[in-house]
Amino acid sequence: MPATAIDPSAESIGAGARRRLAGFARTLRDNGFKVGLAETRDALAILQSPASTRRSSLKPALRALFAATRSDWERFDEVFDAYWSGTGMRRKTTLSGEPAASAAPLRRLGQAAAPSPHGLPDHVERRAHADGDDAADPGGRREGASRAENLSQTDIRHVADPDEIAKVHALAARLARTMRARLVRRQQARRRGQRLDIRRTIHRNVSKGGTPLDLVWRRRKVKPLRLVVLLDASGSMNLYTAFFVRFLHGVVDAFREAEAFVFHTRLAHVSPSLRDRDVTRAVERLALMAQGIGGGTRIGDSLATFNRWHARRVINSRTAVIIVSDGYDTGEPERLAAEMARLRRRCRRIIWLNPLIGWRDFRPEARGMQAALPHVDLFAPAHNLESLAALEPYLARI
């Protein structure tokens, strides 16, 4: 719907102003706004309108045009002021909460996040996965895992050799994809029981004088299972984080309906970073975000943030929330319990994966763990690949 009444090439707007506007559009793009040609053209139209005479009316007009999400909306004023008041912030205005994608990670999450020395680890891995897909027999799907049988039973923290680490991580990513494929198939197999769609049946048979010859069945719409993973990236989880980050990447990559969050003292929504097809880059970016700022884990507070700001959007009636944490919470256990109870009401299942369960003589004695346990549907170990794979039958039953 072009604004035909306005001719952007009209002489009434000077070349200088056009250049400034183009610069502004570029600045917005640098700051993550999605600005296309249509927006720039409409912005020119705004500059020619009466709204441009006062800054107080120009700003809201441009904001309505350029912003597309709430976060855009909130950041716009800052970018606008920085650009048009000419305080020199012409380039990227880095704002709080934004991942600095270009900066080098200060601390890698173990060595494992580092790119494989062989270059393209994901390439090999994908091919193996595709082979598994062709073989319809479900036994074939575990083939990759069985080749690395002994690896899958070893506690991740005992794996030291960088090559082995890379293998374990590749397996974690593949596991997530296999899970997805199997879950979908099971859902399809389970579907039965149909109802007649009266309206469509009549419609279809109008041409036959209304005698219902062709029947139309109402398809039951099966919502796919959605996974929301909350990963504890605090210091106490250090040995496992890199492994789970790979698993997370696999989950987000394979499940259309998946969201990932990382928390330590704060909660960060990481699905957008994880959607990057380049594993190395995604994992590195995440490594940066997952860095604790010290001060221990605040599971309760992080869950509160999740419940308040994200839960409504990411949780539906078929959502399983997976929390990966050792349960060492520096916050109040009461708060954690209250937030767990809230979360429990919203989602289908809460699964708590605790890597420490795999340790000998483990008891869930951490106060946070104690507080959370009554609200957890499945409390399971996650110290090796086998324990992760054991999740799948459970998810299939949900």
Partner: protein, 293 residues
């Protein structure tokens, strides 16, 4: 002659909508750039009211499409009137008409039932089309909507293409229960609707409830603003504020400070869950009252 922003502000005031400057700008821009407007914000901030006010401003009809999960084209766009079609078939068969003529007849305009989207593009004067809670509809429907919003024409297989008679003004609202597609976002102007600030909420109360005196309206608005800052599951919206103010006025309360008992008891207008009720205990209510009144 295009409408100016100040004219829009004036007319918004005339139809009883208490607007802030930004929303007036957005509504003007809609007109100026001929783009749909996407409103986001929490439940109860008055997104739907904006569309109603816009209809008032342009003195246009408001056509509302409420989205829900599983909404399909039959419910949103058009449907054939099957019962009448069947009756017509029987009647004409009896009269001995041939099949082609019958078919021609039953798939004509007379048997077409307009649903909101088709209605919106077939009005002689441009209406306001409100697509409410678009985030509840499925992704397929969103894609279809996007197509309609860019071409303003629909094709009905049995009838052919129907072009828009007039281009409706489109307002979409979203509660953020699902992420909308980038394409839809880019098609639209965007406005984030927040809870009104105290002063504006007081003016809304006064505009809607002429029986309430100004001092009480201000106290109520302040109190509600304080309640919203508490950690609640269901944050009270503007409609709740109005209910509460009306209740207080009905109970003949003129000063919240004088009657903390009445305040606590009538809180049920604002608080809608058991958990929140427990959280806003008598003590908390009194503490809030002490701060605001």
């Amino acid at each position: 002659m295009q409408i100016t922003r100040d004219q829009i502000s004036d007319r918004l005031a005339q139809v009883g909508y208490v607007a802030d400057r930004d929303i007036a700008t957005a509504l003007w821009l809609m007109e100026y750039l001929k783009r749909p407007l996407l409103l986001e914000g929490e439940a109860g901030v008055g997104k739907t009211e904006v569309a109603k006010a816009l209809a008032g401003v342009h003195d246009a009809e408001l056509i509302r499409l409420q989205c829900y999960e599983g909404l399909d084209q039959n419910a949103a766009l058009y449907e054939w009137n099957y019962q009448r079609q069947l009756l017509a078939i029987k009647a004409r068969e009896g009269a001995g008409e041939n099949a082609d003529a019958i078919e021609e007849h039953i798939f004509s305009e007379r048997y077409l039932l307009e649903r909101p989207l088709l209605a919106a593009i077939r009005r002689p004067t441009p209406p306001v089309l409100l697509v409410d809670e678009v985030d509840r509809a499925d992704e397929e429907f969103e894609a279809f909507l996007l197509e309609l919003l860019s071409d303003f024409q629909v094709s009905v297989p049995e009838l052919g293409t129907i072009k828009a008679v007039s281009i409706p003004r489109v307002v979409l609202t979203s509660n953020g229960t699902r992420e909308l597609s980038d394409a839809l976002r880019r098609r639209c102007l965007y406005h984030y609707v927040d809870f009104p600030e105290v002063d504006r909420e007081a003016r809304i109360i006064l505009a809607r409830l002429p029986g309430v005196d100004a001092a009480l309206a201000l106290q109520v608005a302040r109190m509600v603003a304080a309640v919203r800052k508490e950690d609640l599951r269901k944050v009270p919206g503007v409609a709740e504020t109005l209910d509460w103010a009306a209740t207080l006025a009905g109970l003949d309360v003129h000063d919240l400070r004088q009657e903390p008992e009445a305040v606590h008891e009538t809180m049920i207008c604002l608080i809608k869950t058991h958990e929140d009720r427990a959280r806003l205990s008598r003590e908390v209510t009194e503490r809030l009252l002490g701060k605001v009144a």
